[in-house]
Symmetry: C2
């Protein structure tokens, strides 16, 4: 019983009549009516009033009901955490953030998650459908376990899903933070783009790659690691990864700050650099633009390799305005192949700091509204009165 294919049509939010759906699917009107009935009983679809009559009885409209359930999206950063409550359309209903050190370990961080989820869902606990979460390190998506995360002591192979489900018995989806930012940006601002790369420039540098419409995680879930690619201008610079010549050693927030500090400025992190730029400091503008050029070299390579149609630049250092973007664009359009750049757009993140939580919520929504999940749910309320289900 394919209830999901009717739902897929309604998922865009546009209300439709039963007759329209029958024409779109090729099914009989009576079949459509039965499936709509199931979806209405599940709450996923709701009556939407009557359409204008075309001469006879006005048809009743049905539309996706985003309020049927809620999801929580959590974005755990290195030093800050953020969580949102969203409905099934991805619209934000509430938002929380807090300073939170991921190095404090899973118990502490997941404790905050538990309390925050409780607080966000409040009385709607029964309508919570899933939780999506991003972590700042490599994650094996299928199991939800962090794998050798460099800045997350105590988290290695920790059973995050199991811990969260102890208090919130709903599906829990975990992914890398850059991956969920890519997802958030794509779902909210580039819904029709199948090949999008999100570049995060902050304390580290990473990329989330959506290719052919789906997130590419690679064999070990470490795909998109831009930060430790070698660039010529970083030759001799030692990186925290132990190697030398890494992009991160010259173009990430700390590297830019260090360079300005050598020149006498009082800066310690990405945030200070951003403030200097906002204040119009020419040395800072220059340094960030140079960082953009370095990143651009690697992005140019990435464009040749992946051939995306949109590259989104985000992360704290990108918040400084157009300087970083300008540097990246300059190099990418000079270095990448004409065919690959012909329709390429390199744009700043539109979701900004919310990209992560939006993506985490999108991950959760994607799970709740997946065809498989719809089928399972519809079987429980289906019209199988005396069915074979008890076999």
């Amino acid at each position: 019983m394919q209830t999901s294919d009717i739902f897929e049509l309604l998922r865009d939010g546009r209300p439709r009549t039963r007759t329209q759906l029958a024409q779109l699917t090729g099914l009989a009107r009576s079949t459509v009516a039965a499936r709509i009935d199931v979806l209405v009983r599940l709450g996923l679809v709701a009556p939407y009033g009557d359409a204008a009559s075309t001469g006879g009885r006005p048809p009743s409209l049905f539309a996706f009901n985003p309020g049927a359930q809620v999801v929580v999206g959590v974005d755990i950063g290195a030093t800050h955490a953020r969580a949102v409550l969203a409905d099934l359309s991805g619209a934000l209903l509430a938002e929380t953030r807090a300073p939170l050190d991921v190095a404090a370990g899973p118990e502490e961080v997941l404790g905050w998650v538990r309390r925050t989820v409780d607080e966000l869902v409040g009385a709607d606990a029964a309508r919570l459908g899933a939780i999506g979460m991003g972590l700042p390190g490599p994650v094996e998506h299928s199991t939800g376990r962090p794998i050798n995360p460099p800045i997350m002591p105590g988290w290695d192979r920790y059973d995050v899903v199991g811990h969260v489900q102890r208090h919130h018995p709903v599906p829990v989806l975990i992914d890398n933070d850059v991956n969920i930012m890519a997802l958030g940006e794509q779902r909210t601002h580039w819904p029709d783009v199948d090949d999008l790369v999100f570049i995060k420039v902050a304390t580290g540098i990473g990329a989330g790659i959506i290719s052919g419409g789906s997130l590419q995680r690679g064999a070990q879930g470490t795909a998109g690691d831009l930060g430790h690619v070698r660039v010529s201008r970083a030759d001799g610079m030692v990186c925290r990864c132990g190697n030398e010549g890494c992009l991160e050693a010259i173009a990430a927030g700390p590297a830019v700050a260090a360079r300005l500090r050598e020149a006498g400025a009082d800066v310690t992190g990405s945030q200070d650099v951003v403030e200097l730029i906002r204040a119009g400091d020419l040395a800072a503008v220059q340094a960030v633009r140079d960082a953009g050029r370095d990143i651009g070299e690697v992005v140019a390579t990435l464009v040749n390799l992946i051939n995306p149609s949109v590259v989104v630049i985000g992360g704290r250092l990108a918040a400084a305005g157009e300087q970083l973007l300008a540097g990246i664009r300059e190099v990418v359009y000079r270095r990448s192949l004409p065919l690959a750049t012909e329709h390429l757009r390199v744009v700043p993140s539109a979701a900004g700091e919310q990209a992560g939580v939006l993506g985490a919520a999108a991950l959760a929504i994607g799970h709740v509204l997946s065809p498989a999940a719809i089928e399972v749910a519809s079987a429980s309320v289906g019209s199988k009165v005396g069915g074979r289900a008890a076999k």
Copy 2:
């Protein structure tokens, strides 16, 4: 009627009894028997004798019948073309090759294709299921049209599929030559690997990327272009693409040959370089190893970005033995992240010169045996005696 899910189980070639299939699928034995019957009538499955008795009547076995249809795989190179006849298991039945200049234009090249297909299939024309073809340039896979191919004058947006189908009215699948090489290598030698990158080093340098189990073609179908990525050692070298500093300008076959020519050797192309190395020429060994290091720099970046579990090195320059591979390995294992290289294998192509045609055949087989195609075929011989089909 999901005949295809029974077929998917049998596709591995292992013979099974009806009872086994019923247990594997959860379907009733009678249903399995009916579907087996359809598959046998289609020829895709054939009786395989009886299994040993376990005390009673011995069950009869059924197995995938690769001889039900044949496919042709065509690999058009810059100056040579190759074609094979294969059965549905991918086993080669016949092979042809010929010197053929792709720059002669589509009419001439596709004329050769038509004659070669006729010759290969011979009396089996009725059993030809599909044709797969690789072209040496960017191809829009969905339409099968080359897009601005640099070395294929007259081919731009040419309707290759239409032309071939005029004489051979079967599905025709077109893709980039490196993509089909990646597919060929994966299907024949790494069937369980979902993340594989094939690097072709010859007159040009390119990569075919299989990620998450499927070929990644990118937004314009130009994904995997390694050749025009910038490497530091190529600074100042002008490339045929117009840019400077490209990997291809220093590490591809012509570049290596040019370097040896400067040193006084009599070489013009990749083939001469390979022969020099086979003859034990130290300068050639050195030059190819250096080329390997340059390529390794880009492959290291690729490994960080894509995180494959296998990197296959192929192409004419790779045929020279271990030198190129050694250079690539040296840099990749030094430059890529430990987590990404922990389980990474960098290996020479096992399919060698046949990678392309094998992949082209695999593309064709994948189309013929796709669940959708099976369903369509089974509907025509299905047990629908008085069914609703006449609607």
